[in-house]
């Protein structure tokens, strides 16, 4: 299915499509930032499912492929700001890995709005809500992930 037809379909489904977004976040910055959004009672859209990892450096790119394969409509990766990594340099590994991986996914035809990388610190509860809402809205415009979902062989 081409992107255009999908976009059309998305437009028809506008308002009803509830995407599922997987967020891979690090334990020290973004998870704590999301906690802060909670304790501050900030509101955001409920379509995100957080998977906690010790560090963004732990994220093997096959997790992201797996997420799309399993039907996630979008993936968000978020960790500590450059220089603030709890493990000194894990987020730099993640950043380098992600820069290459993004290009590969672009080449494979994934809409780039489905895949977002961001830095959210433990003090940035408000930023977390913005990042999440932003990704969800972008994915809502794109419609369901059909291209990659179901590629998995049993």
């Amino acid at each position: 299915m081409s992107t255009q037809t999908e976009a059309k379909e998305a437009a028809t489904n506008k308002g009803t499509f509830e995407p599922k977004i997987i967020a891979f976040v690090c334990n020290w910055c973004t998870y704590a930032g999301a906690d802060l959004a909670g304790t501050s009672r900030m509101k955001y859209l409920p379509n995100v499912r957080i998977i906690k990892l010790p560090c963004t450096g732990r994220i093997d790119t096959h997790f992201i492929i797996k997420a799309f394969e399993e039907g996630a409509d979008g993936v968000l990766v978020s960790g500590c700001h450059p220089g603030d990594c709890h493990y000194t340099s894990g987020n730099y590994h993640a950043r380098r890995r992600f820069a290459m991986f993004r290009e590969l996914m672009d080449f494979l035809g994934l809409e780039m709005d489905r895949l977002q990388f961001s830095w959210v610190s433990a003090a940035e509860g408000a930023k977390w809500t913005q990042v999440v809402d932003d990704v969800i809205k972008k994915v809502q415009k794109l419609g369901p992930n059909k291209k990659f979902a179901g590629l998995k062989h049993d």
Binding site: D35, G38, R49, L53, P54, G57, S89, A122
Partner: protein, 656 residues
């Protein structure tokens, strides 16, 4: 066959208001592998924990999911409860329904659906979790305290009096910090130096305290109980073993117009100097940035005149490595540079000064020996305007927070001024008077009622000089009138800020800091002195604006945490470490480069005769911090991280 128990907490109504807990319970009870599901009002309470303990025994559970608040809050609580029933604590995981679901969503139906999804994902992970054993590591019972202000001094003394060694590192030549600069302290008007300097001497003389001034922390390696700290001892150019503080060098030094940091620029010092008379250690230092000898190579007067022959121009910075088990960060604060606030004419008019400068003017050890005199013409000011909240609580200046101490110290300034200039009048422009503290409100009343300080509720709109007077135009919002005051001197209560480069120090320490570069505590209420890194504690104003009593109390708390940590010979560490599958490892050793801790080494596998069979990577679990960078780097999928294995994470992904 997995037998998972799921326990859904209402958290009073924190979760139950937005998430239909009964519906979640019924939905997750049907999930494959779930043998038990129940909900309860407060899972963390004793009866709640009892439900978990009972279910583990009765239903023979192989894993537990507690769907409640953030694991940062109660994971240890629930893991302990599981352990009490004989279940390995690492087979218990939490789903965060409160911070990540009920508190951030409003639609009950969608929040309930999300809660079910989150629990399903965690059930799949717990099914694959392996029992893990905590790692025991030895503890170096020696502490590092960074910063020699009142908080650092108190923390160092408390730890040392508890019988443990302390290294106290201070970047300036002397300890004492801002408290040494103050004249009197609120709310008792004790002389600051009189109460501080005995403690400074205690530090210098304590057999358990190693004092390293003019030094900075450059690097911190290792982990709780086993840190290795690299400290840069900056070159003082004076051999402190020989220097006897005779001050002959200072008398002869031709560079004598350097603004004194201690006197906040109101007096001068020499290029070779002792910061203040009561300095500890009382030793001279050459400021190489201004010294003629270092700038041009010509001079060398101090070396010629020093009777102790202590001057050494060849001295180099020295890097010292020290092993410590815990670190207390007590780096303090700075006042906002007044140059950032143009509207009140600081820098333009000599008689507009900041709060710390007023402290120096009022201090008996200050440039005017405690006499209140204007910096411009050394006359006695007959009217002084104090402006509160300069920078603080001003989003336009990027400082929305309250600096906490200004209301009190401005009242103190007004009193000190009145005590010394009996016919003078103090005017105070304020937004609110915040005087919550023991004896604080009474102190403000005293300033108003006994010392006649005139409080004007409003802001200053304009300040300019005219015929030797500072004309202050403002508004008194209580009488709804414009006010114009001919002042002789203006004191700005500028905001308290984090010290410069605190973000860099936080990065060296691996701890969190907030958007204002104040260090972040692990939990704002329940863990106020801990940080996100185990073994690193906070004391004083490096965390947030604080007054002396608060800083001292927090220093004592940090010290007691350190002593608690040192009370055991061994520490327990989470067994979240990487392991190598030696069968598949091809020894590409990419992981060695990925590891920030040097925890991975090449290992040779040999047969009995000593012939090399193969080389593999090997993880030292004592050094591994469990970040997982090596796992994601491994090209042959031969490393995995306990607690976050590929299998466990993929199962979570597949369960969406």
């Amino acid at each position: 066959m997995a037998r998972i128990g799921v326990f859904i907490c209402w958290c009073g109504e924190n979760i139950a208001r937005t998430v239909d807990c009964a519906k979640v319970r019924d939905a997750v009870a049907k999930l494959p592998g779930v043998a038990h599901a129940e909900d309860y009002k407060y899972m963390c309470s004793d009866p709640g924990q009892d439900k978990i303990r009972k279910a583990i025994k009765e239903k023979n559970l192989t894993g537990v999911v507690v769907a409640a608040c953030s694991p940062r809050m109660h994971e240890p609580t629930f893991r302990k409860a599981c352990e009490q029933s004989g279940l390995n604590p690492f087979l218990c995981e939490m789903t965060n329904l409160r911070e990540h679901c009920s508190w951030v969503h409003e639609d009950r139906e969608k929040a309930t659906a999300k809660a079910i999804d989150l629990i399903r994902m965690m059930v799949e992970k717990v099914k694959r979790d392996k029992p893990l054993q905590v790692i025991k590591v030895p503890v170096t019972d020696r502490a590092l305290v960074i910063g020699g202000g009142i908080a650092g001094i108190q923390a160092a003394l408390d730890i040392a009096n508890g019988g443990k060694e302390v290294i106290l590192v201070e970047k300036e030549p002397s300890i004492g910090g801002h408290m040494a600069q103050l004249s009197e302290t609120f709310p008792t008007l004790d002389c600051s130096q009189c109460i501080l300097t005995p403690r400074m001497v205690d530090v210098a003389q304590h057999p358990k305290i190693k004092l390293m001034t003019y030094s900075e922390v450059e690097a911190v390696d290792g982990f709780v109980g086993n840190f290795e700290v690299t400290i840069r001892k900056k070159a003082t150019s004076v051999d402190w073993k020989l220097c006897n503080a005779c001050c002959t060098c200072m008398e002869k030094c031709p560079q004598k117009n350097i603004p004194s940091e201690f006197d906040e620029g109101l007096a001068t010092r020499h290029a070779i100097y002792i910061p203040f008379p009561q300095a500890v250690p009382n030793k001279a230092v050459i400021d190489r940035t201004v010294c003629t000898k270092f700038k041009t190579g010509k001079c060398g007067v101090c070396q010629k005149v020093c009777p102790a022959e202590a001057i050494n121009y060849e001295m180099q910075d020295e890097l010292v490595k020290e092993k410590v088990g815990a670190i207390v960060v007590a780096t303090g604060y700075d006042v906002m540079p007044c140059g950032d606030i143009g509207e009140y004419g600081y820098g333009k008019y000599k008689d507009v000064i900041d709060g710390l400068q007023f402290e120096r003017i009022a201090s008996a050890s200050g440039p005017t020996s405690g006499e209140i005199l204007r910096p411009s013409d050394h006359t006695t000011p007959k009217s002084v305007v104090f402006i509160q909240c300069v920078g603080s609580r001003d989003c336009a200046k990027g400082i929305p927070y309250c600096s906490k101490i200004c209301c009190m110290y401005i009242a103190k300034h007004a009193m000190l001024y009145k005590h010394k200039v009996h016919d003078g009048q103090a005017y105070i422009f304020y937004m609110d008077v915040r005087a919550a503290g023991k004896g604080y409100d009474e102190f403000i009343r005293r300033a108003v009622e006994e010392d006649g300080a005139l409080y004007l509720r409003g802001r200053v709109s304009r300040l300019y000089e005219s015929e030797g007077k500072l004309i202050v135009k403002g508004v008194d919002t209580l009488s709804n009138r414009q006010v114009e005051i001919d002042a002789d001197m203006v004191v700005l209560a500028t905001a308290m800020q984090a010290r410069p480069h605190m973000d860099k120090l936080a990065q060296i320490l691996g701890i969190s800091y907030d958007q204002f570069n104040f260090m972040s505590e692990a939990h704002p209420k329940l863990r106020p002195v801990e940080t996100s890194r185990a073994g690193v504690f906070l004391a004083g104003a490096c965390q947030a604006p604080k007054d002396i009593p608060d800083a001292v109390a927090q220093a004592g708390a940090a010290a007691s945490k350190v002593l608690g940590l040192f009370s055991a010979d061994e520490l327990e560490r989470e067994p979240i470490v990487a392991t190598v599958n030696e069968n598949t490892c091809v020894a590409c050793l990419y992981c060695v480069n990925a590891c920030a801790y040097g925890a991975i080494k090449e290992k040779e596998i040999r047969d009995r005769k000593g012939n090399l069979i193969k080389t593999v990577a090997e993880v030292n679990p004592g050094l591994c911090q469990g970040c997982g960078a090596c796992v994601a780097t491994c090209r042959s999928n031969s490393i995995d991280l306990a607690g976050y294995t590929d299998e466990e994470i993929c199962a979570q992904i597949a369960a969406i």
